[in-house]
Amino acid sequence: MSAGAASPLLASGAGGAAPATMELDHSWRRHAGRAGGRLVLGVLIPLALALGWELAIRSGLAQGRLLPPPSRILGTLLALAQSGDLRLHVQATLLRVALGFVAGAGAGILVGALTGTLPVARHLLDPSLQALRAVPSLAWVPLFILWLGILETPKVVLIAVGVFFPVYVGVSGAIASVDRKLVEVGRIFRLSRLALARRILLPAVLPGTLVALRTGLGLGFLFVVAAELMGASEGLGYLLVDGQQFGKPDQILAAILAFAGLGKLADGLLVLATRPLLRWQDVSRGVL
């Protein structure tokens, strides 16, 4: 801290409330300023590239047939939005991700809790699950199509499988690494098995579980693309296929932009919704 900043605090003595808040205010503003500065730095390169490309095409230096200028991509996105098509495709994609995520994450939490707490379940299930996990999820696609047809079910199942494994591994790992010392606190106070699970295990595994859910959600978006590429009549993945077949790179890039926005938004919402549960944590302040 500089001497100039400290002296009003020292001089004002007991009536130092006002300078103190000013001091806080300043440091807050400095902090926000620094965060803003980082943001500017982060978008500098993509912005410069986009602008450069735009100018190159406008000035006739490049053609832009395969890589359309940013203005055309945004225009396509806008047109899709205005016609209502974008809403339709986003809805279809989001519904698949949501269904697959809920099913996969639910199963992952359930099985992870089971193998994490019951040794019998762990010895019985974990080896098989680890073996299945080693199979790249996309390898199941032909089988799913054979078994479940080409409509919604195989898509949702593929997403669910993709979400299941990281959540399962995260939850069972979080349970396995719960601090024995805290469990002993529960034992000293003679908690029943159920109370021990609710009052010690559950809060202790919450941070790890939420990290696993975030990873799972990310994979959900990864696998929805794969699922929609294997054949769909709507969804952002369909826009990709359609754009490829009819030579519309601007539509492909518009869909990619939409994916980026949706993924970031979903992740942000998940973090925001679970933040109140983790207020006690000593870490992860100012992340995101």
């Binding site: 010392k181 002993e184 034992r187 000293i188 106070f189 003679r190 009052r199 202790a204 006690w280």
Partner: protein, 251 residues
Amino acid sequence: MLTIQDLAKTYADGTQALAGLTLSLAPGEIVAVVGGSGCGKTTLLRLVAGLDAATAGLIRLDGATIAGPHPGLGLVFQEPRLLPWLSIAENVGFGLADRPAAERRTRVARALARVGLADHAGRWPRELSGGQQQRVAIARAFVADPRVLLLDEPFSALDAVTREDLHRHLLALWAETRPTIVLVTHDVAEAAALADRVVVMRPHPGRIHRTVAVEAPRSGDAVAHLRTSRVLRALLDESLAPSARRAALAV
């Protein structure tokens, strides 16, 4: 009345941590347990607290055999072990879940006031200093009025000034309901200042070497404390290896 009879503990790897340890404590008595590192002090407390099972021997509280954690027994670990997801007040009230909310509130408030942390009730454990966290852990153990309190070097990580402060808090809490206290410590002066009786342990296998009565515990009689401290230090040195003895004398 807490009685420990021929207590023995051999760990799965063959380590004989305790053998034939016998000790009995009168209600309201404060007994300090001192001894070199690895002589079985923590093992003793864990057995009495019911966290581990003894290999042989009996532990009785008022005639009833103890096998497993007991409502009349409280334990303060060497580290605070606060639950990071609970506020300070919730941590102190952790063992009172089956009591009515009003009783819980008054008990927690009283215990926090006793350790001088009344205005920290709503904070998170991470926002407290190490000494403050240790005080919360002591309040948590005291809050349900246990008949016996086991303290495992609760002050060892603290500086001398904070430690004396905590001694006062501990005695204030003790004066309310006068539980039996077993205090494990490395600090001979601490043992002499707080305990009625000091038990000196020896390792391989862990057993009681000597028991020394403190002549004027807690009376502030400096000469008596000094005498007791000297006796204890001599005993302790005798039970330590030469290298450890040099270190102990340097203290």
